[in-house]
Each structure stands twice: as structure tokens, then as C-alpha cells.
């Protein structure tokens, strides 16, 4: 009860605060979502991507080809 009232008074009572918290939350959510999905993708495709197998093909002596 107290928590829901606190939430209402803090976020929902003023529409300006409500909308701006939605936008801030959307920004944070987008960052978190992208990070999480990228991490999952890299984890799922471990050993298949160029950044994982780069060491096998690019030797330190071959720095001139870069």
C-alpha cells in the first residue's frame, strides 16, 4: 500500500514527470536491451565470428598488411 502510493506520488501524479520518466526509461531500456541481445548473440556464436578467430589469421609479423 505504502509502496504503491509512493510510486504514484513520485512518478504518476504529474504528467510531465510521467512522460519524461517514460522517455528516460526508454533510453535506458534501449541500452540495456541492446547490450543484453548483443551479449547473447556473441555468446551464442562464440568461436564463429571474426573477432574470435582473428588471432588465427592475423600474425603479429603481418602488421604491414594492415
Amino acid at each position: 500500500m505504502a509502496l504503491t502510493d509512493t510510486l504514484y506520488n513520485a512518478l504518476f501524479r504529474r504528467n510531465s514527470i510521467f512522460v519524461s520518466s517514460i522517455f528516460v526509461g526508454a533510453f535506458g531500456f534501449g541500452l540495456a536491451f541492446d547490450t543484453a541481445t548483443n551479449r547473447f548473440w556473441d555468446n551464442w556464436n562464440k568461436g564463429k565470428q571474426w573477432k574470435d578467430i582473428r588471432d588465427k589469421y592475423v600474425t603479429p609479423a603481418g602488421a604491414d598488411e594492415e
Binding site: M1, T4, I22, F27
Partner: protein, 293 residues
């Protein structure tokens, strides 16, 4: 059994007894004939069991009617025969034993009373309020991030692709260009002049009074480091490639129409209206390279 005068085809159905409930709380079961009266009902034509019995519901408690296209029957009383319920007096309304609501309403004192809906009422209005706003806000949040992702992805399709970006930069090794030498390299399909200038050439370029120039520009504005002059090798007149270390001013000379550029690449003579263009470039001191682009 007295059938109504209207031509109605009766069909027996095996249905749940209460298929819907009127707003008053009265359950109705369409299509069920309640004319099959129980035992002891006076048929109204003399024979039978005589006077009305006390355990038979009065005739107004049930009935059929043709409402619109629906054939409705109402039964505010229980549909299980009273003798199965083990109750002696069944003319008084009892609680419904067959119902579709999750909670059994308390028996109302009268069939005409408004049922008690108080158990549907919330006990925690602030929780409901916070929940509603939370759901609205969550949908807004998801929608806003979806819209942002859509727009950014759409704009990203207009950006240059990786192979174009890779071709957009050219690196020149500074150590490979000796003093007082020109190098012409190709950058984005155009020639670029890189000159390693001597002290005398720098002095000469800086001693020119720029007020006498057609396109006034100091040498400091045209170079990032005085010993390295980097500019596009395209004549500003009609786009020919000037020849280095020639011309009247010791700089470049365009053979097409005779424009002369000095050692800072400024137009000094001939039809060229502007100085040679300076591309964006940078120095990488760690690898001793000039990065053009």
C-alpha cells in the same frame, strides 16, 4: 400439457443450465423448455392431483418467452427438483446450486432484491491505480524505444557502408617522402599532392603579401605543419591536374590553360579563380603517417 398457440418448434437440448445471466442476476437458459412441469401440477383441466401443492414453485417463477429472435426462458429458482435438494420448503428462493460465477453470491433475501456485489469491490484502490498507471507507462516505454529503434535503423541505412568508409581514408608514410619532393596519391578518385617543403620554401610562402593575391589566404591557414603541404591536385579552373615543381612561382603549373600556383598552392597567375583545395587530413606521429580523409 398446454402448448402456446404460437408455432414454436421445441427441441430438446443438452446444455449447461445457465448459459448467461441477466444484469439482474437472473440466470437464463435459452432453448430449454420449462413447460415440462413437475409432478402435482394442476393441468387446469379437472383431473390430476387436485389442489396446488406447497412444494411446487408458483408458475410465475419460470416461463418462456419469445424475445426477438431468441427463445428465452427464465428460471430464478433452482433447476434441480426440490426433492433432490432435501429441503422441505422450496417455495422460498434458495441459493443457486448451478452457476457460472467463480464466487457464489450470498443468498439474497428476495428474488427481486439487487444482488450483493460487494465482494467484487476492490479492497486496495491505490494498488489498482498504481498498476494501471504502471501498465500505461510500460506500454509507453516499449513504444518509445521501438520508435527510436525504428528511426535509428532507418537512418543507419542512409549512412555510408563499411567498404566505402574503408576507401575514404588514405595513409601516406611521412618517412617515405624526402625533403623537397612531391608525392601524388589517389584519394577518392582524385589526385592529392603531398610536398615535403624546405625551410626556404616555407619562408618564401610566408613572405607573400596576401593582399595582392586573387584568393587571399595565408600559408598558416593552408597547412597544419609548415613542412607538410597537402592539397587536392585538381586545378580550380577546369579540373586538370597541375604539374609539380614548375611554373613562374616555383609551385605548380596547369598545362591546360596556364594557371600558376605558388609553393603554398595559391593561384597566382592564369585563369584559376581559387587556390588549390586542402582536404581534411591528420598526422599520426606514432606511425609517422599522414592520414587523408
Amino acid at each position: 400439457m398446454a402448448l402456446p398457440a404460437r408455432a414454436i418448434s421445441f427441441k430438446p437440448y443438452n446444455l449447461a443450465v445457465t448459459t448467461r445471466t441477466l444484469p439482474s442476476g437472473v440466470p437464463i437458459a435459452p432453448g430449454i423448455s420449462l413447460y415440462a412441469k413437475g409432478y402435482g401440477v394442476d393441468h387446469g383441466h379437472g383431473h390430476g392431483h387436485g389442489a396446488a401443492r406447497s412444494d411446487v414453485p408458483p408458475s410465475w417463477t419460470s416461463g418462456v418467452r419469445l424475445g426477438g429472435s431468441n427463445f428465452e426462458s427464465k428460471t430464478p429458482l433452482l433447476t434441480i427438483p426440490p426433492f433432490l435438494m432435501g429441503e422441505s420448503s422450496c417455495t422460498a428462493p434458495v441459493s443457486r446450486s448451478v452457476h457460472t460465477s467463480s464466487q457464489v453470491p450470498a443468498p439474497s433475501p428476495s428474488p427481486y432484491a439487487v444482488p450483493d456485489w460487494s465482494h467484487y469491490k476492490t479492497e486496495n484502490p491505490s494498488m489498482n491505480r498504481a498498476f494501471s498507471y504502471f501498465m500505461v507507462g510500460s506500454m509507453g516505454l516499449l513504444g518509445a524505444s521501438a520508435a527510436k529503434a525504428t528511426i535509428t535503423d532507418f537512418l543507419a541505412t542512409m549512412a555510408a557502408s563499411a567498404d566505402v568508409l574503408a576507401l575514404a581514408k588514405v595513409e601516406v608514410s611521412m618517412s617515405a617522402i624526402p625533403l623537397a619532393k612531391n608525392v601524388i596519391i589517389k584519394w577518392r578518385g582524385k589526385p592529392v599532392f603531398v610536398r615535403h617543403r624546405t625551410e626556404d620554401e616555407i619562408k618564401e610562402a610566408r613572405s607573400v603579401n596576401i593582399k595582392t593575391l586573387r584568393d587571399p589566404q595565408t600559408d598558416e591557414d593552408r597547412v597544419k605543419r609548415p613542412e607538410w603541404l597537402v592539397m587536392l591536385g585538381v586545378c580550380t579552373h577546369l579540373g586538370c591536374v597541375p604539374i609539380g615543381e614548375s611554373g613562374d612561382y616555383g609551385g605548380w603549373f596547369c598545362p591546360c590553360h596556364g594557371s600558376h600556383y605558388d609553393i603554398s598552392g595559391r593561384a597566382r597567375k592564369g585563369p584559376a579563380p581559387l587556390n588549390l583545395e586542402v582536404p581534411p587530413y591528420d598526422f599520426n606521429d606514432a606511425e609517422e603517417k599522414i592520414i587523408i580523409g
